[in-house]
């Protein structure tokens, strides 16, 4: 269902003047692939990632509570996997964010990632721009940090918080997938449980092996509220030009490039030709590179 360009413009105007219904419809339009006019806004974004169940949503609830009371308007994009079998999803991050996930200064949108997690990454940047344009001063992106495809989403955030839990050993997985590298801030949650301290020490040890890596490991408890003030301070003062910036930019470039290629108008023909051997992969790339179409032309 392609919306007309004037309709999109009307929605944008209404959303900017504070109409939440229009903002919500605009986000849906972006997700269904609708092209949105470029905005000039510079969104404040935080990516929160980490293994399933470590307490990302609970911790975000705490951040939202603090930011709300200091007058910020907080928007959250919570990305959850869909079932590979039925295509359906049960989006439950909202529950864990508790009472802080609603109200006039909080906007939460749950996003099922579909079959192709990396496939939604190009929309995330646009959603952040629109939210920022509409006056949302803190934008949080939550995604389960399980593998390469999630990195392409979280890379759209300007600062990234990686969360682990006690006794999980999951951080090793995260390291494998490059999540450790791209993260600016690292925290171990559930410090109220045994094992959290040991996990934090282990991670700190692995960081200390890399020369010049100054990141420290925060111990927090989202449920009891320990360590949250220090964590917020670090998030606020995070250096956006750290070494991870180049990795982020590389990811953004790659995922935008990917989506340009997969949206190429001749992709089906080229795939057929590749199958029957009449062209080679480099022929296809060369052809696509010179015939690429950009949304803004």
């Amino acid at each position: 269902m392609a919306l007309e360009l004037t309709k999109i413009q009307d929605l944008m105007d209404a959303a900017k003047s504070g109409d939440r219904r229009s903002l919500s419809q605009l986000l849906t339009a972006i997700q269904s692939g609708e092209k949105i006019p470029e905005t000039t806004s510079d969104p404040w974004t935080l990516g929160v990632t980490g293994p399933p169940g470590v307490g990302k949503s609970t911790l975000i609830g705490k951040l939202v509570e603090r930011w709300k009371s200091s007058g910020e308007r907080v928007a959250i994009l919570a990305i959850d996997p869909s079932s590979p079998i039925t295509g359906g999803s049960l989006l439950a991050d909202r529950i864990r964010m508790g009472g802080h996930a609603s109200g006039k200064d909080v906007f939460l949108r749950s996003i099922p990632s579909g079959k192709d997690v990396a496939g939604i990454s190009p929309f995330i940047g646009e959603m952040c721009s629109i939210l920022s344009e509409c006056g949302w001063s803190r934008i949080i992106i939550e995604t389960v940090g399980a593998g390469q495809s999630e990195i392409s989403i979280i890379a759209f955030a300007d600062r990234i918080l990686l969360i682990d839990g006690p006794d999980r050993g999951d951080i090793i997985q995260a390291e494998k997938a490059g999540l450790m590298e791209i993260s600016d801030i690292i925290a171990v949650n559930k410090s109220d449980l045994p094992g959290a301290e040991a996990a934090a020490r282990e991670i700190a040890l692995s960081l200390s092996l890399v020369e010049g890596d100054e990141r420290k490991v925060h111990l927090v408890s989202a449920i009891e509220g320990h360590g949250i003030d220090e964590l917020i301070q670090e998030i606020e003062s995070c250096n956006l030009n750290s070494g991870s910036k180049i990795l982020r930019m590389k990811q953004r470039l790659l995922s935008s490039w990917n989506s340009l290629l997969t949206e190429h108008h001749e992709i089906d023909t080229l795939l057929d030709e590749l199958c029957d051997g009449s062209i080679t992969v480099s022929d296809a790339i060369r052809h696509m590179a010179i015939t690429l179409e950009f949304g803004d032309e």
Partner: protein
């Protein structure tokens, strides 16, 4: 379909809501569960922010008579009259007519097989596709019986 499954009021019975939410997910829908103890205003806000097309309301505490009409009115007043709304839980037959009059399109009691809930949704979606009135704010005598 994007479906919000909600638990309004102080009612702490959440098994039914979770069972139905899971069944809807397995039916291929995207289900957003609100968690317990939401006010009608919060529920309307969630439907808006999530841009849901369908809202499920689960209530077993006996407060359906005041909570459900409040939610329906809230939706209508927020430009969300096109949302399909249905309910379940402990809702006696004698109370149902009033809820249908508010725009609720189905009420399911204890022991409902989840397959029937999916059948209802299928029918409601077909109606929506044909542009037949089915939203909470749309004028129609139709409901699932």
């Amino acid at each position: 379909m994007r479906i919000v499954m909600s638990k309004p009021g102080l009612d702490g019975h959440d098994r039914g809501a979770k069972v139905v939410a899971r069944a809807l997910r397995d039916g291929g829908h995207d289900v957003i569960y609100t968690g317990l103890r939401k006010t009608p205003t919060e529920i309307v806000g969630i439907v808006n922010d999530e841009d849901a097309e369908v809202l499920g309301i689960s209530t077993l505490s006996g407060a359906h008579g005041s909570l459900i009409p409040k939610i329906c009115d809230g939706l209508k007043n927020s430009g969300l009259g096109g949302v399909i709304v249905f309910a379940g839980g402990i809702i006696p037959n004698r109370d149902r007519k009033k809820l249908f009059d508010c725009g609720i399109r189905a009420v399911f009691g204890p022991g409902t097989p989840t397959s029937e809930v999916l059948e209802f949704l299928q029918e409601a979606i077909t109606r929506k596709k044909n542009n037949d009135p089915v939203g909470v704010g749309e004028d129609t005598g139709w409901h699932w019986s």
